[in-house]
Symmetry: C2
Subunit: 201 residues, 2 copies
DNA sequence: AGCTTGTTGTACTGATCGGTACAGTGTGGC
DNA sequence: GCCACACTGTACCGATCAGTACAACAAGCT
């Protein structure tokens, strides 16, 4: 796991972050293979020696970018950390919609964008998988909380429901992305919530 | 639209098809940017002059690959052309699952894989969009048929329901892909069908 | 001061990229 | 037979790719 070198000084950390930030932004638009190391360095203002000081190779940079994406995604939907009632789930979906309604905002999931491209890369695919699982785990936790407080039937499987919600988010975002229309995401989230609600006692 | 040259002779058509087939297979695994023209030609056995005889550039080859994907997808789910009853929709979802249950089979939507990568390419994104719309149009047609025969409530919006079904398929496939587990797709399709059924009179 | 270690700039390599030039071959219509 | 044209093989181009070499700089510690 510790494949990429850590930056020990504040100056080094700033440089490393600048590289990852630039890579994240470029790869979000042009994909992994479409983003060259040279472009990343030009955008970040760093030199090649920095890049290969902090990362063994491009693949490790992509790994850092995946982590970066997950942090950014979760940071944009803080309600996911405190899912204790059905209303909280509503709030969560509203936060997701808000992100993508922001003018010039995403309308695409950075992880989803990568999923197709690195889906068969033996090194990177597991990282994307783990990122999704972490994201999903907070949903699962929230559903378990509901279950404990009797607001979700005992027979429901929180892990499975969380996965189902995830598929709605991803599918909705994929269609919304290529269609430049958030309606697909709105409907997908509403259907996901309805499905969850069907397991209310 | 007629940007790529047509093959006029059987021999030429064979060559052109071989190029598109090879490109489709490689881009399915390695993505667009990850698939070089040279690799495509090596795999197809064609030479560079053939490639640039039939396609103006790599982008036009990708356009042909997108068309190729749509044909293959629809060919694998023939039930989508004859959706006249609720049972037909069931059959349709079963066909989708069968494709991805085949050992060594897809477990990923080739269009979905591309969507993330070319989502912001001004030339290619509209083509992916159109491919999805065509795919979706058959669902919409089927839903309209149900509506006409009174098996779907008047107030339902076939286009919107078709889009919702599409998001389920895509989300399910995305998760199933990176998870190497078809469960996500199974659940997503079941939820999609349940959602459609909720509009039965 | 001097040493160590983290950090940085620049120049370079061989491989590969998309695309072109151009001379050739196969083949159907006359 | 022969001509036109679709088709093909190969060599080549400048640009860009990921990655390396190596010398220099900055800063904390003694």
């Amino acid at each position: 796991m510790e494949a990429q070198a850590a930056a020990t000084t504040p100056r080094g950390k700033r440089t490393r972050d600048a590289i990852v930030d630039a890579a994240a932004e470029l790869m979000y638009v042009d994909g992994v293979a479409g983003t060259s190391v040279d472009k990343v360095l030009a955008k970040s203002g760093a030199g090649k020696s920095q890049m290969y000081h902090y990362f063994k190779n491009k693949e490790q940079l992509v790994a850092a970018v995946i982590e970066h994406y997950l942090e950014r995604i979760l940071g944009n939907q803080p309600a996911i950390f405190e899912l204790g009632s059905w209303a909280d789930f509503e709030t969560w979906t509203e936060q997701i919609l808000d992100i993508h309604r922001r003018p010039g905002g995403p309308i695409a999931c950075p992880l989803g964008n990568l999923a197709g491209e690195v889906g068969d890369n033996p090194k990177l695919a597991p990282l994307v998988d783990q990122a999704y699982r972490k994201w999903e785990s907070y949903l699962e936790l929230g559903l378990k909380t509901l279950q404990d407080s009797g607001e979700l039937v005992r027979s429901a499987d929180p892990a499975r429901l969380a996965q189902a919600a995830m598929t709605s988010v991803q599918g909705g975002l994929l269609l919304a992305h290529i269609r430049h229309d958030i309606t697909a995401l709105e409907d997908a989230l509403r259907i996901a919530l309805t499905h969850l609600h069907s397991f209310r006692p």
